[in-house]
Amino acid sequence: MGRYTFLEDVAPADCAIELEGQDLDDLFETAAAALAELMVDPTTVPREVDRTITVTAPELDLLLYDWLAELIYRKDRDREVFTRVGASVSGAGPFQVEAEAQGGAIDPARTLLRADPKAVTLHQLAVTRVASGWRARVVIDI
């Protein structure tokens, strides 16, 4: 998996994340892992559900936006958090991510809760190709 860093000098009331992945699949998997880490202690979420999630968007940065927005939506609708995700990103505009997501329902009795993300913002949203692969920045509203 790639690398993620929570940035503290950007929108300090919210959560800015810098993501790095060796390829786009890795970048989107890393984004999902960072989001799960933000919401809960992932080790306290049972792996009891498998979901196939497909998201499409006209641009690559909007694909990242929609991907994270989908995971936040499912956190509220189904109360599920995904702690292991295999993603496959394809297309050249429109773009698509197809993911196999494993995780489980949030159970306050055994899940260590952290922040409750409200939404993905477009503030400073960027997905760029770099020498080592792909880098992205996204700010999540907490």
């Binding site: 300090p12 009331a13 609708r77 952290r114 477009l122 503030h123 700010v139």
Partner: protein, 481 residues
């Protein structure tokens, strides 16, 4: 960036400082608060000044800090006929707001049962990530909530009829359009009514501290009798439903701006002409979310009354557990204000800013009309909050707006490095504040040192004359998500 002090606690950035600025940017802050404002505030408020149709100036309140798109504490007004509406100027937590409840109780009466009361509140009001609400509605009933707001709750016994008179817009803003709301938004938020959320949302038991009643005459009108009196303060919004409405329309506006020939300096400021189909659809959906937030706070009020009644073995009416007021701080509303000597219909965006209408405003309940609108400013969970009233000066200077909180000064990560949730919980308890939190790390993020000094913010509002302090409130019990 050139910033000039134009009056006491008023700073201005002229439109020449950034390409595209239509109007000046104006920041309201004492010298101390101004010196502590982060760079993001200046970048963001000047970005707001670039938006089409903005009138007079882009404003930032004394609690302003770096947000996403608008700064937190941002106020911007656009002509309803030629201006825009921007979801980024309202935020995802549509109608996040504050509600204050008074009681006839004193701290001396409550203190012996305080832990039991806080436990009962924590059990009665679901909080934290993934919390399920207290009602399970059908889609058609939820659509009625979107239109009727707090009145939907009161009609079903979740509140008292007189509560409605003490809510901004009587808890039901006109123009809600359930048809403009996505099925995703409904399915996301339908089961969350009556939940608190997390982050900086809270439910507090508070008291007026010694010397905390600053205007006894105004206090009498608002039901604030004096030091030792117990209050409850609630801070939350429209939950996942509003968050999804914001998400949906931000994506829509990002795509339609080109069609209207609009450009913005930050994509989060994506906007559409207010009178366009997209602008009107968003306004209808946003208003639906705002009404749902009023319903959410109304349901929580009902649960608070039940919990207090059960623990103390007394009828909530006997406890005098009535609503002082309920104010929004993330909305866009149609209001008439004077611009260039003429009354104009404006779309007033407030992002982390509170409406603060002065005496005589027709929207105010009769009991408060001569006094001005109550303004509830939530500080940090450790240091307290404040009750103020709006002024005529606010009407003239800030489109009837004021601050909404203390304003954050520290990142969440830095706060967690400085303290642990368990440590903070113990420290607060040692100071007589009983805390129940769904997330210990979330608790650490909200430590008092992560915020500006609320007293400085309130003092600045008073010096500016845009709000008048009535009472200070300090926490003795806290429920957090």
């Amino acid at each position: 960036m050139r910033v000039t002090r134009v009056a006491e606690c008023v700073w201005e950035i002229p439109p020449t400082e950034k390409a595209g600025m239509q109007v000046p940017a104006r920041l309201y802050a004492s010298e101390t608060l101004f010196s502590r404002m982060d760079q993001g505030v200046f970048d963001q408020i000047t970005n707001v000044a670039c938006l089409p149709g903005i009138v007079r100036a882009a404003l930032c309140m004394p609690d302003g800090h770096w947000g996403y798109g608008f700064p937190i504490g941002g106020v911007a007004s656009f002509r309803a006929d030629t201006g825009v509406i921007s979801p980024g100027g309202i935020g995802f937590d549509i109608n996040c707001g504050m509600r204050l409840l008074r009681t006839n109780l004193t701290e001396a009466e409550v203190r012996p049962r305080l832990r039991q009361l806080v436990d009962a509140l924590f059990a009665a009001v679901p909080a934290g990530v993934g919390a399920a609400g207290i009602l399970h509605l059908t889609g058609s009933e939820f659509r009625r909530v979107m239109v009727e707001g707090a009145a939907w709750c009161v009609a079903r016994g979740y509140g008292w009829p007189e509560d409605l008179d003490r809510i901004e817009g009587r808890g039901c803003l006109p123009g809600a359009s359930p048809d403009a709301v996505s099925e995703r938004a409904i399915s996301r938020g339908m089961d969350q009514l009556g939940t608190l959320g997390s982050g900086n949302h809270y439910l507090e038991v508070q008291v007026v501290p010694p010397g905390g009643l600053h205007d006894p005459q105004a206090g009498k009108i608002l039901g604030v009798e004096g030091p030792g009196q117990v209050f409850l303060m609630l801070h939350c919004g429209s939950r996942g439903f509003g968050h999804q409405v914001g998400t949906d329309y931000l994506r829509t506006f990002d795509q339609v701006m080109r069609r209207y020939g609009l450009t913005v300096p930050d994509r989060e400021l994506a906007c559409a002409p207010f009178r366009s189909p997209e602008g009107q659809a968003y306004f209808g959906a946003m208003t639906a979310a705002a009404n749902t937030a009023f319903a959410n706070r109304q349901l929580i009020t009902h649960r608070v009354r039940e919990a207090f009644g059960a623990v103390l073995g007394r009828d909530p009416r006997e406890l005098g557990l009535s609503v002082v007021y309920d104010v929004c701080h993330n909305t866009a509303k149609i209001e008439r204000h004077e611009v260039d000597g003429q009354l104009q219909e404006l779309v007033v965006h407030r992002k982390g800013a509170t409406r603060a209408f002065g005496p005589g405003a027709p929207d105010l309940p009769e009991a408060y009309r001569e006094l001005g609108q109550p303004v509830i400013i939530g500080g940090s969970m450790e240091t307290g909050s404040a009750l103020l009233v709006g002024t005529a000066r606010a009407m003239a200077e800030t489109f009837g707006s004021t601050a909404h909180g203390a304003g954050r000064t520290m990142s969440r990560g830095e706060a967690k490095r400085r303290t642990r949730g368990e440590t903070l919980l113990r420290d607060m308890e040692a100071r007589g504040i009983i805390v129940r939190a769904a997330s210990k790390s979330g608790l650490a993020e909200e430590a008092g040192f992560a915020y500006k000094d609320l007293a400085s913010v309130v003092d600045t509002l008073d010096r500016l004359g845009i709000s008048h302090p009535v009472a200070s409130l300090v926490p003795i019990g806290n429920v957090k998500g």
